[in-house]
């Protein structure tokens, strides 16, 4: 396989598909999935079931409903389909169906949302079946042609063979006939031990264009006659746009129009974005900031601290025994209060979307983690029905949870609606992106641990106070107004269960929702819960005079999978052997997104405040690993994201606004600060966990625990820059 013509995202089909979207919709509307009538892709090649298109030249186009945003799921999902399809991997390419096509076909491609590390684990079953279904149909078509039983035919790399008669054919040759067959009612999936494509660290399918500048991100979308828009939303969340003086900028070069966007924002539309932005900077704007302008980081911190008080009502998320009574009667108590700040996703590519609105059609081109949510936003903002709208997904320059939201899509449509017939690309400046994030929620946590006379941990009270993401973004998922997701990583059971057994345990959450909008930020509630629990476990171990690893192990007897990943990192980093001179170690573990992860760091500290991270070891058990090379990258990337947030992150609030404006005030790690991450993969099988997010949970506590080992100082708040601690 020539690497320069390696399979990649099929942009040609995308372009044709976009141009012919009306036709595509019409076909989809009339013809249900399967059955005797052939459904065709934009280039005329037949579908063999909804997930697979086979071209006459044997190219296999695999449909991907979830979004690729750098995490590698596109390649992983294609591997899952290709495994069951038994096709030639070097002839695989992929394409995104549009949400409009999906809706028109009764959601034949299932859920488009790509968050919660769910891209692969929540679709592996049906995409594999999609591949297997197509394989059965293709073989049957060949068997029919040869008039032999399908059971006598075999297939390998897209070549079908009937051994007895010595005949062979290829998928491309029988695709037309296969497309006319009725799909089998049921298909059997391969035993994982027989996988040959899944489980391999194959190269990604979408790399080449990312190295030449040819990849089209949302910011690069170009349409004939397109204009560009720059936008400012009220810097105080919840505030409104009062007035602006259009006359002041109307004559500026390239300016076409100044438009109000909803009640809260104003945009300048110009020939180029640079002209739009320059005029927007010059535009006098008056905001009605409202009461939220009185809110500051200090006032939020004070309010959250009140929620740590036992006397206030709280929602119990995990409980056994009677923690309060056990603490009251304990021989020894340890107590600590931790906090975690707002964080901006700061995707490398700022939010943007391009919209074209006419009286009977609205189309949007954008990077999104949730094509269907973006589609719903287009419907709502345009006021047009589903059959007149569509969303064309393009590569996002990072997602991390931010592009699961659709605020920027809605804005683009609202701007385009005021310029009917003219495509408009709305791009946020980095400053706008910093000011209007959907921030990692802010929380505090008070933990009290109690020991008996023999230094056994007998009770743990874990009291969270702070913001609920679900309250703001998915109120329908609350339970009696309470947020079960607040306990991610410390829950009693499920996909983010606690890894310790404590005889008396109370985990509870006092909800406090400041006006700053929260969002799903890579790792979500696992991030702060892992810091709180894992740093406090370290505190407890030291209070008990025990080794932090041994102390944990004693509490993990009933949690063998948590323990296995912890043991794996301990062994790899050499926990039981002395660290090099001047180097100190920290360790942490957590479960999130259905996977078990652990991390260990080796650091040195100079002048008490300059940290050099020498080594990171991370282990993960996600059940099954589809592409170890991509998992390795997600693990390493999680450390960069998590440690950037620990050292440099933190969004603060002043006069109701976010204070950080760009990467100078919200910095991100560079290559010189990042050691190699040694990953240890220990997939134990039998379940499917996510990999994009869980590891981020252990990044910060591993380093913070190492910092304590090095200095004897316990850090209980983030970011470290607030405490004048930085990279050496």
């Amino acid at each position: 396989m020539n690497k320069h013509v390696s399979p990649k995202m099929n942009r040609r089909a995308f372009v044709i598909g976009s141009a012919a979207v009306g036709a595509g919709l019409a076909i989809g509307l009339d013809i249900p999935f399967g059955g005797p009538t052939v459904v065709r892709a934009a280039d005329g090649s037949p579908e063999i079931g909804a997930w697979v298109v086979v071209r006459p030249d044997d190219t296999v186009v695999i449909r991907i409903a979830r979004s690729e945003m750098g995490q590698g799921s596109l390649t992983g999902l294609a591997q899952l389909v290709a495994e069951e399809l038994e096709c030639d991997w070097s002839k695989v390419t992929t394409e995104y169906p549009t949400p409009g096509q999906s809706v028109a076909r009764k959601r034949v491609w299932g859920d488009f949302s790509t968050g919660g590390s769910r891209g692969i684990r929540s679709s592996q079953d049906y995409v594999r079946k999609g591949g297997a279904t197509a394989r059965v149909m293709l073989i049957e078509a060949a068997a029919n042609e040869w008039k032999v039983p399908a059971s006598e035919c075999t297939v390998a790399r897209g070549v079908i063979t009937h051994k007895a008669s010595g005949r062979t054919t290829t998928y491309g040759k029988v695709a037309e006939a296969a497309a006319k067959l009725t799909p089998p009612a049921d298909v059997k999936l391969k035993d994982p031990k027989d996988w040959t494509i899944v489980g391999k660290g194959l190269l990604r399918l979408d790399t080449a264009d990312k190295t030449t500048g040819a990849m089209t991100y949302g910011i690069d979308v170009k349409l004939p006659g397109m204009l560009n828009a720059a936008i400012k939303d009220c810097p105080v969340f919840g505030g409104k746009l009062k007035s602006y003086d259009e006359a002041k900028v109307a004559g500026m070069k390239g300016v076409k129009k100044v438009v109000k966007v909803g009640d809260t924002a104003v945009a300048v539309v110009a020939d180029t974005w640079w002209h739009a932005k320059t005029a927007l900077e010059a535009l006098p704007i008056v905001w009605d900031e409202g009461d939220n302008a009185k809110v500051s980081s200090e006032s939020i911190a004070k309010w959250l601290a009140e929620g740590l008080d036992d006397g206030q009502p709280a929602y119990v998320g995990n409980k056994n025994g009677d923690a309060k009574a056990a603490i009251a009667g304990a021989a020894k108590k340890v107590e600590a209060v931790y906090s975690y700040p707002y964080q901006n996703h700061a995707t490398m590519e700022p939010m943007n979307a391009t919209a074209l609105y006419t009286a009977d059609k609205c189309e949007v081109w954008c990077g999104t983690q949730n094509g269907e949510a973006a589609f719903a936003a287009v419907l709502e903002a345009s006021g047009l029905p589903a059959e007149k709208c569509d969303v064309h997904k393009v590569m996002p320059g990072g997602g991390f949870g931010r592009r699961g939201q659709t605020d920027y899509v809605r804005q683009a449509v609202m701007v385009a609606k005021q310029m009917p017939g003219t495509p408009v690309k709305l791009l946020w400046s980095r400053e706008e992106d910093m000011a209007h994030g959907r921030y990692h929620p802010i929380t505090q946590c008070k933990m009290t641990g109690a020991f008996d006379a023999n230094n056994n941990l007998v009770a743990l009270h874990y009291r969270l106070s702070g913001q609920s993401i679900l309250f703001s973004l998915r109120p329908e998922a609350l339970q009696n107004g309470m947020d079960p997701a607040a306990f991610q990583g410390v829950a009693q059971s499920g996909e983010a269960a606690i890894g310790y057994s404590v005889p008396n345990l109370l985990v509870e959450h006092a909800m406090r929702n400041p006006h700053v909008p929260p969002g799903f930020w890579r790792g979500v509630n696992v991030n702060h819960n892992a810091i709180y629990m894992e740093c406090f476990m370290d505190e407890l171990a030291h209070a008990a005079g025990q080794d932090p690893l041994e102390f944990r192990r004693k509490l993990m007897g009933n949690h063998p999978k948590h323990l296995a990943v912890l043991n794996a990192v301990a062994e790899k980093i050499g926990w039981n052997t002395p660290a090099p001179q001047g180097v100190y170690r920290g360790i942490a573990q957590v479960m999130g997104y259905g996977s078990y992860v652990a991390g260990a760091a080796e650091i040195s500290v100079t002048e008490g405040s300059k940290i050099k991270v020498h080594r990171i070891v991370a282990s993960t058990d996600p059940g099954y690993i589809v592409n170890p090379a991509q998992v390795e990258r997600q693990i390493a990337g999680s450390f960069v994201y998590g440690l950037s947030a620990l050292f440099y992150g933190g969004c603060t609030v002043k006069d109701g606004k976010i204070e950080q404006t760009n990467f100078d005030t919200y910095n991100s790690m560079r290559i010189n600060e990042m050691p190699k991450v040694e990953s240890v993969m220990v997939p134990s099988g039998g379940f499917w966990g996510g990999v994009g997010e869980p590891t981020i949970g252990v990044a910060a506590p591993a380093v913070l625990n190492a910092y304590f080992a090095a200095t004897g100082k316990r850090i209980r708040s983030v970011p470290l820059r607030d405490q004048n601690i930085t990279f050496a």
């Binding site: 690497k3 500048g213 490398m348 760009n662 990467f663 991100s668 560079r670």
Partner: protein
């Protein structure tokens, strides 16, 4: 109006002289491989070569770039042959989202033309681009692969 020499071609562009080179390249010359990340010379996404030297194009005006040889990511491959950095990036599967990689690749190409066998310390000093996806490990490995080829 400005005359810019980009990837060996002369562009006569209708831009004000104080326009950042980044936006002239992206919007006026229509070469969108060079990316916008911060606009304040912090992230490196907009890195191009000016007379062979890696520069952050958001921090340079069009008038400062006039008369210089500008190379963007689109001009790195010569005659259809990828630059060795691009080849290594593909072979080592470096990009995640890829958005920072135009700038990353340009920065690395400039480093390698100056120091064909950079040490880790050289890499640490020269490569200061932000990558939110966290591809640093693959970036470093790919550089060493090129250097040892």
């Amino acid at each position: 109006m400005a005359n810019l020499t980009i990837n060996g071609k002369t562009f006569t562009l209708d831009v004000e002289p104080d326009t950042p080179l980044l936006w002239a390249i992206r919007e006026n010359a229509g070469l969108s491989g060079t990316k916008y990340g911060c606009g304040i010379a912090q992230c490196g996404a907009c890195t191009v070569h000016l007379d062979g030297v890696a520069m952050r194009s958001c921090g340079i005006t069009v008038s400062e770039a006039e008369g210089k040889k500008i190379t963007t990511i689109e001009g790195l491959a010569v005659g259809g042959t990828l630059h060795k950095v691009q080849e290594a990036w593909i072979a080592k599967d470096v990009p995640q989202c890829g958005y920072c990689q135009s700038g990353m690749i340009m920065a690395v190409a400039a480093l390698l033309s100056e120091k064909p066998k950079p040490t880790d310390a050289d890499i640490d000093e020269a490569i200061t681009n932000i990558c939110r996806c966290g591809t640093f490990q693959q970036v470093r490995e790919a550089i060493h692969t090129i250097a040892s080829a």
